[in-house]
């Protein structure tokens, strides 16, 4: 029976030959993950149910270092309890120092491999799909159940295929690929479905750029997003782990619910306007929109390739008067690399703040909240009302080139128009 990546990975995890779209199956997980905000609630439920031992400490990973150094006593106390739990249970994959934020850190450590079935108590679990894993976001109680039994029920989703073709022009990045997709599918166009990203344009991208695309599958309501692994994926994974993996591809005659073709060849840099990530227009339509804050980083755009793009724009330039620019490397490894290659100096010289590794101001709780009068361009994945502070703060989403050029200009600009 022809099958999609989603069907193949779920069938294997359910111990079946084949699973049909719409079927409900019980699947074993290869990895269960949770973070600073979702693990405390998961443990509360785990204990409330009378569970005492996790199913397999080696298949659990708790990454609780999103907001380091700690913002307040409550968070510090909550993470302290997680450390004690992980010690008692023998969970070695516990990170809550300065290592960085989970969606960038887990792939970096080789914990994410092609063909895995992952359940993660965080909506951006889908980021791991860039390496060909099927990584499903769940709530805390679902994860508590997975911690205890190593399995959960799932509906086998239909798959929407998103095919990127063409060669992107200057300053058009993978963020623009996914913003263009959001514009087409809307914030619920993939609800309960899987998205398979493919097409020859992906071959031009390194895994670090592909994460940006997979990361925002959830913004269309998808169960997850996934990409077929290629040589670049395998090189990335092999450089990080000895563990075996399983490259899973959709059969040529697999059934997709629909196919969306996106030509990236004649695309210009894009921006999502407040307050939905699907509110997408070309950046040049917004020129002269004055901003007060620019944020570069997060699980969407906080990797080395992103910092290099930022440096390309900021080198020898200054952040405009009245604009605060903060740059947040996603992990400590990225931070160190940016330090060694001189990028941090470029940022500081330009007048930016470099945040410690983590999520930065993305969720409005740490490192840069917005007031009612602020207008912010961020490389994040969400611009919901109130997401970064006051409900009236205006949040625009973009790729790194647009964000950095905007910080210099003091107003939204299309980098194609101002950079050579």
């Amino acid at each position: 029976m022809p099958a999609t990546i989603a069907q193949k990975i779920l069938a294997r995890a359910a111990g079946k030959q084949h699973v049909a779209v719409g079927e409900i199956v019980t699947t074993r997980v290869d990895l269960a993950m949770a973070n600073d905000f979702t693990t405390p609630l998961a443990l509360k439920q785990f204990h409330a149910a009378g569970a005492s031992k996790v199913f397999d400490p080696d298949k659990i990973c708790v990454m609780a270092g999103r907001h380091m150094p700690f913002r307040d006593i409550q968070l510090a106390t909550a993470v302290e309890a997680l450390r004690i739990f992980c010690e008692q249970q023998g969970i070695k994959h516990f990170y809550a120092n300065c290592e960085g934020m989970d969606h960038a850190l887990a792939p970096e450590l080789g914990l994410i491999r092609p063909g895995m079935l992952i359940m993660n108590a965080d909506s951006h679990a889908c980021t791991a799909g860039a390496l060909g894993a099927f990584s499903i976001p769940m709530g805390s109680t679902d994860i508590a159940y997975v911690f205890a039994f190593g399995e959960s029920w799932l509906l086998v989703p239909p798959t929407i295929r998103v095919r990127y073709t063409g060669k992107p022009g200057p300053y058009v990045t993978s963020k623009d690929f996914i913003l263009a997709t959001l514009k087409e599918l809307g914030v619920d166009g993939a609800r309960y479905k899987a998205i398979e990203f493919c097409g020859d344009a992906l071959a031009h991208l390194d895994p670090d750029e592909r994460f940006t695309i997979a990361n925002m599958a959830i913004e269309m309501g998808a169960k997850t997003g996934v990409m077929e692994p290629d040589e670049k994926t395998e090189a990335y994974v092999r450089a990080r782990t000895q563990s075996a993996y399983d490259v899973v591809r959709s059969d040529p005659d697999a059934e997709f619910e629909s196919t969306l073709d996106i030509d990236v060849g004649n695309m210009t840099p894009l921006v999502a306007k407040p307050f939905l990530p699907s509110n997408v227009v070309p950046a040049r339509e917004l020129r002269r929109t004055k901003v007060t804050q620019v944020n570069i980083g997060t699980c969407t755009n906080g990797r080395m390739v992103d910092l290099e793009q930022a440096a390309q724009v900021l080198r020898g330039n200054k952040v405009a008067k009245g604009v605060r620019l903060a740059i947040t490397p996603a992990t400590q490894t990225i931070y160190r690399e940016a330090l060694k290659s001189g990028l941090l100096e470029i940022f500081v010289d330009a007048g930016a703040t470099v945040n410690p590794p983590g999520c930065g101001p993305c969720a409005g709780i740490h490192m840069g909240a917005l007031t009612a009068n602020d207008v912010c361009v961020a490389t994040h994945n969400r611009n919901f009302r109130g997401r970064m502070g006051h409900r009236d703060a205006q949040i625009y989403l973009s790729g790194v080139y647009v964000a950095a050029a905007t910080a210099v200009a003091g107003a939204i600009v299309d980098p194609q128009e101002v950079l050579q």
């Binding site: 905000f37 619920d188 309501g221 709780i365 919901f384």
Partner: protein
Amino acid sequence: MIFTGRIHKFGDHVDTDVIIPATLLSNTDPQVLGRGCFSEVFPGFADRVKPGDLIFAGENFGCGSSREHAPIAIKGAGISCVVAASFSRIFYRSAINIGLPIAICPAAIAHAEAGAEASADLGAGKITVAGKSYSIPPFPPELIAILDSGGLVPFMEQRLKRERQSGVRA
């Protein structure tokens, strides 16, 4: 179980940042989260809710982050049931897991007015607004088993007990 109360009406794509801001997430107490429910974007919401009231909302309710604090906050605020044209996937699962009753009923949403009386009878599968009833689709059997247990925690408790009795688990 029949839930009866006044309608609090919302539009499409109500996201979890709006339901409960991330600043309140280091808490897991339903009472505290209930007071924070919609506090940033619709200040005073929790004060306006009378126990038993219902939320009626458009498409994709609960989209965005996976924070289970969102359904907990709604329940903690005293809302008895959320009726929506559709739900985001994570919110749908989590609501059932933590025991917040939900129903998908686009027809009822189209006729619901803020402040009006409504009732939801999930056992009989119907939503009543202004004297008119609308039917709702049944839940899949996997979810009925969880609902019947009173949520995923008691469901888990029962499975742990069975496994301990049969010696599968220490």
